[in-house]
Subunit: 416 residues, 2 copies
C-alpha cells in the first residue's frame, strides 16, 4: 500500500465565537447564521471547545495564534512589536526590539494634537527614510531602523547588543503630552532601551519638525507629521518553527499584519492572494481556490478571515452574520473539493468577541476537525454550544496542533 | 447606552455533592431532594463539574475555598492556623504563626485525660488572659498571643521575626502523652518555632495547674483545664486580595470560622447576619435578603451554608436532604428577586462528602452559573450527574473565578 502524505487546511475565523444575543432570540450570531458548510463539517468531524489561553482569560490575536499553532504563549511571547514588524515584511532578528509607531502631530511643548498624521499620507516613505539609520548618541552600538507600512503607521526597530522589550510606550494613546519611555524591569537592558527610545523620539521631532515635506503639508492646510509615537515594544517570540518541531511545511493566506507575523514566526510561507483582504470585502472564493492549489506543495495551509472580529468590535450583528456566511461559503467550497481521505479540514476561532461586549472575552471557542480517522461524535451543528458536547471535550488551544500533527502521522512516540 | 456594573451572588453549599446511595434507589441526596430553585438555575444557566484540587484529591474546606476564589492552593496555602485565627476575628500578620488550641486536662506525667476541658467553659477568657503576652525565654524576640474563642477552644499566635509554620502538633489527638513539637523541615525557623511551642506548652501547664480558677473547678468536681494543646500550625496564605487582583469589591455571609478566614484572606468584608449560623437551624431567608441588600454596594457577595457537610459527616441522609432543600429555598428566593440582566447567580459545593463515607472525597462537584450572556446548555437539573453534561465541561475549580471575572468585564487581555 502506498501511503500518500496527508495534509491540512486550517481555517481561523477571527472573533467568530460569541455569547447568546437577546435580539437573536437568545442565539449567538454563529447559531443564527445560515452555515450549511460549517454544519456539514461538524457532522462529519470531531468537535470540541478550546480555551485559547485558559478559562476566562481574553487573548490578544497574537497570543491566540501562537497558542493555536501549538506554542505556550507564557513561554514564548515577548510582546507585539516584533510580530507586527515581521508581518509587515521586515526581517528582524530575535535580538531586535520592534515598535509600532504613528506619525503624529505635536505642539512645541510635546502635547499631542493628533495621534494620526492622516489616513492618506503620501509623505510616509520619505519621512521614514529621513529617520532611518539613526545611530544613538548615548549608545553608539544601537541603530534605529524606520520603515513606513500603511497610512500613518510605521515600524521602528532598535538593533544592536543588549536591548530589551520591557519598556513603556511614548504614545500617550490620547491628546496629552508625549510620554517618557520607562524601563519595565530593573535590567540594564531595559534602561538602555528606554533611553534610546526617548533619545530617538526627540530626534524624530527635530528632524520632522524641520522637514520640507512638513512645510509643504502646512502650506496645504494639513497638520505637520512632526513626531513618531512608539508603542507595543516587542521582540520575536523565542520559538522553533513548525518545520523544526514537526518537519511540517506550512503556508498561510493572511491579510492581517499581526497574525501574518505570528505565521512567519512559526515558519509559514506567506502567500499573497489578490482579493484576499482583512476587510468585509475579502474574496473567500479566491482564497479557497488558492488554498486548494497550495495543498500540492504544503502539509498545512492556514487561512485567516478577519471581518467577523471587526464586525464584533463594531457591535454590528448583521455584519457579523454576513461575514460568518461568507466564511461558510469557503468551508463549503473546500468540503466540495478536497479529498477527505487524505486532507483534514479544521475550523475554529482565535477568541470570542461578543457583539454585546465589543472586546475579546475569555469564553472558549468551538472547533471541528474532519478528515481520515477522526472519531466523529454526533454533533450536528457548528456552534459554541453544540461543539461543547463534542468528542474532543474542552481543551487548551495549544493542544490542537499536536492532535493535528498526530493525525498527519508526524508525531513522535514518548516512551518505548 | 449606560453600562451598568454587573455583580455576582456566589453560593457554596458545603459538602453538598455525594455519591449514589442504595437506600435512595441509587440516587444521590442532591438528586433525591426536592430542589426546584436549583433546577431552575441549571436550566437557565451554564453547568459543569469542578475538580476542587485535582481528580481524586479530597480537599479540606480551607484549601477548597482558596481554589474556588481563584487561588492555586499549592502556591499560596500555608496551613490552617492562620486562616482559623483570621476567621475568629484575630488580626494577624503574614509573619505570625497561628495554632488552634484546646484547653485540656493532663496528669502530672503529661498524659492527656481529656482533650476538652468542657463544652461549657466560662473560665476560658480568664485562663487565656493568664497566658496571653508570654515572652519566650529562649527567644526573647517572640511573644505568644492567646485568645479564647468558643467552648474549650482558643487561638495561639507566635509573633516575632524568623518563625515558620512547619512544626508538628503537641495535641496527641487522643488520650496519650502530650507530644513534643518537632520541626518539619531543616530550617532554623522551624527549629526555633518548635522550641517556642514546647517551651510555651510547659509554661501553660505551670500557669494553669496553679491557677485559682482551676482549684475552684476541682472543688465543683470538674477536671482542671491545666494545659493548652496546640495543633494545625499555619501562616496566612501568601496571596493578593480579589480587590488587588481584579478590582473586585467582595463581601461574605459565612458563619464557619475557617471559611470566614479564607474569605478575609481574599479581602472580603465579613457581614454579620443575625440568624445565619453554621448549624441546621440557619435562616436562609434572612441570608438571602441580606445578600440582595449587599448587591447595592458589592461586586461579589459570597454565601456559605454549612449544615449539608455536617449532616454528611454524621452519615445522616435525611438531615442532608433537609439542608439541601433549605439551601434550595435560598436559591429560589434569589432567582425570584435578582435582575438576571446584570446579576450572576453561581451555585456549587466545596467538595463531595458522601453520607456513605462521612469524610471528604475527591469526586468533582456540580456548578451552575446563570446571568447575562452565559451559554445555557440544555441541562435541566442541578445534580452531580446532570451538570457533568453541561457546557462548562470539567474544570479545575480555580478557573471558576477567572470565568466570573470575565463575565463581569474585569478580566485583562493577554497579548495584543
Amino acid at each position: 500500500m502506498v501511503t500518500e502524505r496527508k495534509n491540512i487546511i486550517f481555517i481561523v475565523v477571527d472573533g467568530l465565537a460569541d455569547r447568546p444575543v437577546l435580539s437573536l432570540r437568545g442565539l449567538t450570531p454563529l447559531e443564527a447564521a445560515s452555515k450549511p458548510g460549517m454544519d456539514r463539517l461538524a457532522k462529519i468531524g470531531i468537535c470540541g471547545i478550546l480555551d485559547i489561553i485558559s478559562p476566562g482569560v481574553p487573548p490578544g490575536s497574537d497570543v491566540a495564534h501562537l497558542s493555536l499553532f501549538g506554542y505556550d504563549p507564557y513561554a514564548v511571547y515577548r510582546g507585539r512589536g516584533g510580530l507586527e514588524a515581521l508581518g509587515a515584511g521586515i526581517n528582524i532578528s530575535s535580538d531586535d526590539v520592534a515598535f509600532r509607531a504613528n506619525f503624529a502631530t505635536v505642539r512645541e511643548d510635546m502635547t499631542v494634537i493628533d495621534r494620526r498624521a492622516g489616513r492618506t499620507f503620501p509623505e510616509g516613505d520619505k519621512l521614514a527614510e529621513a529617520l532611518n539609520g539613526y545611530r544613538s548618541k548615548n549608545f553608539p552600538d544601537i541603530e534605529v531602523i524606520v520603515r513606513h507600512t500603511t497610512e500613518h503607521r510605521c515600524v521602528v526597530v532598535l538593533r544592536g547588543p543588549g536591548l530589551s522589550h520591557m519598556v513603556s510606550d511614548t504614545d500617550p494613546h490620547g491628546e496629552s503630552k508625549v510620554l517618557e519611555s520607562v524601563p519595565l524591569d530593573s535590567s540594564f537592558e531595559a534602561k538602555k532601551s528606554a533611553s534610546v527610545v526617548n533619545e530617538f523620539t526627540r530626534h524624530s521631532y527635530e528632524v520632522l519638525h524641520n522637514h520640507p515635506l512638513n512645510a509643504e503639508r502646512e502650506k496645504r492646510g494639513l497638520r505637520p507629521a512632526n513626531i513618531l509615537l512608539l508603542r507595543g515594544a516587542g521582540r520575536l517570540p523565542d520559538m522553533p518553527s513548525l518545520k523544526e518541531l514537526y518537519g511540517l511545511k506550512a503556508a498561510c493566506i493572511v491579510a492581517n499584519a499581526l497574525v501574518r507575523g505570528v505565521c512567519r514566526a512559526a515558519g509559514m510561507d506567506v502567500i499573497e492572494v489578490k482579493g484576499v483582504t482583512g476587510g468585509f470585502d475579502t474574496d473567500t472564493n479566491v482564497m479557497g481556490y488558492a488554498a486548494l492549489k497550495l495543498l500540492d506543495e504544503y502539509d498545512l495551509v492556514f487561512l485567516h478571515i478577519k471581518g467577523t472580529d471587526s464586525a464584533s468590535h463594531d457591535g454590528d450583528i448583521e455584519k457579523k452574520i454576513f461575514m460568518i456566511e461568507k466564511a461558510d461559503s469557503l468551508v463549503s467550497l473546500l468540503l466540495d473539493s478536497i479529498d477527505l481521505g487524505h486532507t483534514y479540514l479544521v475550523l475554529t476561532a482565535d477568541h470570542t468577541t461578543p457583539v454585546s461586549v465589543k472586546e475579546h472575552t475569555g469564553d472558549p471557542v468551538p472547533v471541528a476537525i474532519a478528515g481520515p480517522g477522526v472519531r466523529s461524535d454526533g454533533v450536528k451543528r457548528f456552534s459554541e454550544r453544540d461543539c461543547a458536547k463534542g468528542g474532543l471535550g474542552r481543551l487548551q488551544a495549544r493542544f490542537l496542533m499536536p492532535i493535528l500533527i498526530d493525525y498527519l502521522g508526524l508525531s513522535k512516540k514518548y516512551g518505548a
